[in-house]
């Protein structure tokens, strides 16, 4: 994060949050500019809503540098209801002892979160290429290998998920056996 220290110092927020807000800004700008190609309500509707998203994202990004009246609306309000549904900080799981697990994969040390992200990305790409039916057992085995799951349990889960997929194919008619390649 060292190389982003100046960026963090300028905005006064984490690099990851800057990235998140830039994502909102890029998407809303694209949608705002793209909406200019459409006339009437079909264009005006996305224009208004993407403009709202853009303004909110910019205000959030520059919230530490805003003048007083604007800073008030981006700051934490005094008290609303007192509870919320989806804040990580309230989740008792967050207070639970966590394992700072890392794994070395092909010489690279990865956090467990990175392993989840990479394996899921690989799983999705493999699903597109060879179909979900083939990709799923490969994904489960790869995941199990990377996080050291007991061999018997891993085989049980691999076989179980494959059977469930066959079930979807047979009873729900979902073509999980088809990928782009075959």
């Amino acid at each position: 994060m060292g190389r982003f220290a100046r960026l963090e110092a300028f905005f006064g927020i984490d690099t990851e949050e800057i990235g998140l807000l830039l994502f909102f800004i890029v998407v809303s700008t694209y949608l705002l500019v793209g909406s200019l190609a459409y006339s009437g309500f079909v264009g005006r509707y996305p224009r208004v809503f993407s403009a709202v998203v853009l303004v909110c994202a910019v205000l959030c990004l520059f919230r530490q540098r805003l003048p007083e009246p604007l800073a008030t609306i981006t700051s934490e309000p005094p008290d609303l209801v007192g509870f919320d549904e989806d804040e990580a900080e309230d989740d008792p799981l967050e207070q639970r002892a966590r394992s700072a697990e890392t794994r070395t994969v092909f010489g690279v040390t990865l956090s467990k979160r990175a392993i989840v992200t990479l394996t899921v990305a690989g799983y999705m790409i493999a699903s597109v290429l060879v179909g979900i039916l083939v990709a799923t057992p490969l994904y489960v085995l790869a995941w199990g290998y990377l996080v050291n799951i007991d061999r018997n349990r891993l085989i049980a889960v691999t076989v179980g998920t494959t059977i469930v997929l066959f079930g979807f194919m047979e009873f729900a008619g979902i073509n999980v056996d088809i990928g782009v390649l075959f």
């Binding site: 998140l20 989806d86 966590r98 997929l165």
Partner: protein, 504 residues
């Protein structure tokens, strides 16, 4: 009325419907009991798999998961001091001390009985309310539905992103705006094609039909949650010592009928407010029990009344949360957003239809939940008291690939479109960072779910008024909704300043 109720009872009394209720409840209890998983994730991954089912079976399965998860969340709260979801957080205050004192079975008995009674009675209240909801629903035209949907998003955004109003509005509106991609619901025009029409080879990968909000739901609640729980150690507990008498717990609930009823009423009232939900009801009810108790010193040290108040209220929120979703198609929580997804997926339009032509469906859904609450009591007393501790031993490392396999298959099953699989990935990553930095995932999801309602009703309003915005101010109901929207959005900021000014 009576014939409709009889017809609905007949619809529920089918063996396959009862099987779906049981299946949903068991799945919901398991999902709810696994800390970090919860009923919403369970509903999200099951939702696309209900495609082959009929509308009634599918939605009964989903509400049964929703209901079972609220009860399931209390199991881990009582046995290992980690609530399955935030809706059972207050259950830990007295539930876990009871386990420590060798009274775990009694606490589980209280949880099963209070959940079933709270949930069941409030469903009966909902049955009684249905005839009165119909005229209210019919009073809402396009302008009022547009304002109500906007109010719902702002309210949820403001409550959920309590760090700032702007974060909440940003999340909700982002959900609305991404759904503008693809064919407009008010005309034949395709918005944002991204790629030129000549790129025929990759047309199946293009967003002609836009994002599927169910894929967004799956991504945000499945991958987002899996990323969040990935660092929790594999197995939460090795061994749990479960002792005590389960029927003593049931007796405790019947010994405190007023507390049970009051807690259920709080739950139903709080549940009907968009964005507040089970976690708030849980705490409000517990606080009220504590405030009104003559001997409050024992609360927090294993007092059965603490478990009764928390558990009767959280299951009762379901009845309350169904009111806005059945009446206007406006979900007040993540669970009801997924449920609304189930309605839409199966061609059921919430609103006047559910109180007119489809009234039998509405009653059948409610009756299935009443029956579900009876099953909760039976499962709680005879299964969970014996085998509940096993749920604490589920390995999260094993859960992740199972959930992801269901999520990917479910997303693909929606339209056989690989873009929906990519949507799961993109929105899963987005959800993880949004939660990390206090942006409301629920507001985004509800924005996406309500996007079509907002666009079609805004377009209809503009057509009716020939483009004049005055249509949103020219009747008392619209004015009330505009005022409520402004008060809720600006109140937390302007309120203290006004108070200060008048004090001076």
């Amino acid at each position: 009325m009576v014939s409709t109720i009889v017809e609905s009872l007949g619809m529920v009394a089918q063996p396959e419907i009862i099987a779906f209720i049981l299946l949903g409840l068991i799945a919901g209890i398991i999902f709810g009991a696994l800390p970090g998983v919860g009923g919403v994730l369970g509903m999200a991954i099951v939702l696309p798999l209900t495609i082959p089912l009929g509308g009634l079976e599918a939605n009964i399965l989903l509400v049964a998961i929703y209901s079972g998860a609220y009860y399931g969340a209390s199991i881990a709260a009582i046995l290992i001091n980690v609530p399955g979801t935030a809706a059972a957080a207050a259950t830990t205050f007295d539930g876990y001390p009871m386990t420590q004192q060798g009274d775990a079975r009694r606490a589980l008995g209280i949880s099963a009985a209070a959940s079933a009674i709270g949930g069941g009675l409030t469903m009966l209240v909902l049955v009684a309310l249905v005839p009165y909801l119909a005229p209210i629903v019919l009073a809402f035209g396009a302008p009022q539905i547009f304002l109500l949907a906007l109010f719902g998003i702002v309210m949820i955004g403001v409550i959920a992103s309590r760090q700032s109003l702007i974060k909440g509005v940003l999340s909700g509106m982002f959900g609305v705006v991404i759904m503008t991609i693809g064919i407009s619901p008010v005309g034949p025009q395709v918005r944002y094609q991204f790629l030129p029409e000549s790129a025929e080879a990759i047309q199946p990968m293009m967003l002609f039909d836009g994002f599927d909000f169910i894929a967004i739901l799956i991504g945000m609640f499945a991958l987002g949650e899996m990323l969040r729980i990935a660092t929790i150690r594999g197995q939460l507990v090795e061994e749990i010592n479960v002792q005590g008498s389960i029927f003593a717990g049931v007796y405790d609930v019947f010994r405190h009928p007023l507390l049970t009823l009051k807690s259920a009423a709080i739950g139903m009232g709080v549940g009907s407010i968009p964005g507040v939900g089970g976690s708030a009801a849980n705490f409000f009810s517990y606080s009220e029990a504590l405030r009104s108790a003559k001997d409050a010193m024992s609360f927090g040290q294993g007092d059965p009344r603490g478990v009764i108040s928390a558990e009767a209220s959280n299951n009762a929120t379901i009845a309350g949360s169904l009111i806005p979703v059945l009446s206007f198609g406006i979900p007040g929580s993540a669970g009801t957003a997924v449920l609304l997804g189930g309605f839409i997926l199966h061609g059921i339009q919430p609103g006047p239809e559910l109180f007119g032509e489809e009234i039998a469906f509405t009653y059948a859904l409610i009756f299935s939940l009443i029956l579900g609450n009876i099953f909760i009591m039976l499962i709680g007393l005879f299964v969970i008291s014996k085998h509940g501790p096993l749920l604490g031993r589920v390995d999260i490392d094993l859960l992740i690939p199972i959930v992801m396999a269901f999520a990917v298959t479910g997303a693909y099953a929606l339209r056989s479109n690989w873009l929906d699989v990519a949507t799961v990935f993109i929105f899963g990553i987005l959800a993880f960072y949004m939660v990390k930095y206090g942006y409301s995932v629920i507001a985004l999801v509800i924005g996406a779910v309500l996007a079509e309602i907002i666009e079609t009703n805004l377009n209809r309003s503009m057509s009716l008024s020939e483009g004049s915005l005055l249509i949103f101010f020219d009747d008392p109901l619209s004015l009330f909704l505009v005022a409520a929207l402004l008060v809720f959005a600006l109140g937390p900021y302007l309120g203290p300043k006004l108070k200060q000014r008048f004090d001076v």
